[in-house]
């Protein structure tokens, strides 16, 4: 009985803390967005962040995409062989990659790399008073630290996702043509025929939203960290975990809204 009460009490505490956190994040987001649309913008910093987020994420995103695309083609071949419909492999691969796996996998990989790095960097700046120092040098930390990261991430993720999609489809193509005996021209023909513009648009919209989430979570947890090295460590973990969950949730919401009918 006591254990049950304890269980619900713990649950309730988490729920209330969760609500407070949502309010906090919403406030942070509102302030950050209001700074995004007001000058000055630090273009130099946006460029540097785009390089950090985009270029250095290419290898990990590319590898994830090619392995997943290849495995997907193999699985669909095995599955659809039962219905004598091997021809669906190309179609399913391209739709699965572009609509779902490309953006989600790229989003998650970049979140793991970038949200954590942002949280660690900004968290360290917070606990070593560098953020306070920025303020005393009449530089708004939102403008100098957070806005460039948000812009860079929102602009870069779609580019990364395009690359992930291409490489993912290529992974499927490799397995299909080299191992499963598909004709390259037919495979590509089916791929192009089945891809619709809504697929591409949804892919890019997801990418931009995930990019926003990645930078937002990294910044939020880093900016608000406290309590020395341990606090920075916690901020880093929280940034990645919350970015993962929000990306998967946002993906579901966008998918249901775009393809649900």
């Amino acid at each position: 009985m006591n254990a049950l009460v304890e269980f619900f009490a713990t649950f309730g505490r988490f729920f209330i803390a969760g609500l407070a956190a949502v309010g906090d994040v919403a406030r942070f987001t509102a302030i950050a967005l209001s700074h995004c649309v007001r000058p000055p913008l630090y273009f130099r910093l946006i460029g540097r962040q785009m390089l950090h987020i985009g270029y250095f994420s290419l290898p990990v995103v590319g590898m994830t995409a090619i392995f997943t695309g290849a495995a997907l083609a193999q699985q669909i071949y095995v599955g659809s062989a039962r219905f004598n419909a091997e021809g669906t492999v190309a179609a399913v691969v391209v739709i699965a990659i572009v609509r779902e796996l490309g953006p989600v996998l790229a989003g998650l990989m970049v979140a793991g790399r970038v949200s954590s790095a942002m949280a660690a960097e900004m968290g360290t700046m917070r606990v070593t008073e560098q953020i306070d120092a920025l303020v005393t040098l009449s530089t708004d930390p939102y403008k100098y630290l957070i806005v460039p990261r948000l812009y860079a991430s929102v602009l870069t993720l779609p580019l990364l996702v395009i690359v992930a999609n291409l490489i993912g489809v290529f992974g499927g193509f490799l397995i299909a043509t080299q191992k499963l005996g598909f004709s390259p021209t037919t495979y590509l023909q089916v791929t192009v025929d089945f891809l619709e513009s809504v697929d591409v648009v949804s892919s890019l919209v997801k990418a931009a939203v995930f990019g926003f989430i990645i930078a937002l979570m990294g910044s939020y947890h880093g900016y608000n960290s406290s309590g020395g090295a341990q606090g920075v460590g916690k901020a880093t973990t929280n940034a990645v975990v919350s970015a993962f969950i929000m990306i998967l949730l946002a993906n579901l919401i966008i998918t249901v809204n775009l393809f649900g009918t």
Binding site: M125, D132, L137, S138, T139
Partner: protein, 258 residues
């Protein structure tokens, strides 16, 4: 001397949880005046200047800068007030992603919009003022010793020639000769630039050298303030104990209690 204080605090209270750190601070700093705040470790000296800068918000009380209310100020008005300030942080707080000269030039470039090359020249000159050669300029802060970092922080604080400068323990971690150089530099800032300064220090030779007036913080209150030449015969047992560094006296260290 003008009659409106540059900085004025009335009944400022700040607490963290149940711990009351500032318990009703009243302090006036006149334009061009150099005030030194002394007090035991953990007595709230750093918190006091962070409240004035708006980095922390006191729960109660009033802080005015040039007669304008500073608490809760935001947006353009806050930016304008902040551009009057320079601050040396106790821990240096140098930007570790930038080189030494970029740190020093930061306020000039980002806030004043000065051209990079021009700012670099000024930064090198300010570094020379704190005894650092141009060979240090291209290094990163983590390649410097603690005392060198402190001096870079000092150069950064004075680089924009602000009207009001706060020095949080400027000589801690420096050798006695360099400490004296820094004391001279602070005195010059006040005399030549007409800056208003608040300096936090434990170093009595600093107090004697740079203070126009000293104030002692104890248990969240300013228990004594007066011109520096009165500090030796303040008639205040707490001040006497502090400046002579005796373990015995009215100030009981927590370590002795248990």
């Amino acid at each position: 001397m003008s009659t409106t204080p540059k900085i004025s605090l009335r009944g400022v209270k700040k607490r963290f949880g149940s711990k009351i750190v500032l318990d009703g601070i009243d302090l006036d700093v006149m334009p061009g005046e150099s005030v030194v705040v002394i007090g035991g470790s953990g007595s709230g000296k750093s918190v006091l200047i962070k409240c004035i800068l708006g980095l922390m918000t006191p729960e109660e009380g009033r802080i005015t800068i040039d007669g304008a209310d500073a608490i809760g100020m935001h947006g353009k008005a806050r930016e304008k007030i902040l551009s009057k300030f320079g601050m040396l942080f106790q821990g240096g707080a140098l930007f570790d992603s930038l080189t030494v000269w970029q740190n020093v030039a930061f306020g000039l470039i980002e806030a004043r919009g000065m051209d990079k090359d021009e700012a670099r020249v000024i930064a090198i000159e300010k570094l020379a003022r704190v005894g650092l050669g141009s060979d240090v300029a291209e290094l990163r802060p983590d390649e410097l010793s603690g005392g060198m970092q402190k001096r870079v922080g000092l150069a950064r604080a004075i680089a924009t020639e602000p009207e009001i400068i706060f020095f949080d323990e400027p000589t801690t971690g420096l050798d006695p000769i360099m400490a004296d150089v820094i004391n001279d530099l602070i005195t010059e800032c006040v005399r030549d630039l007409g800056a208003t300064t608040i300096t936090i220090t434990h170093d009595m030779s600093s107090v004697r050298k740079i203070a126009d007036r000293a104030a002692m913080l104890y248990k969240g209150k300013i228990i004594w303030q007066g011109p520096k030449d009165q500090i030796d015969n303040s008639g205040n047992a707490y001040v006497d104990q502090f400046i002579h560094g005796h373990a015995e006296g009215p100030i009981q260290m927590d370590i002795l209690k248990s």
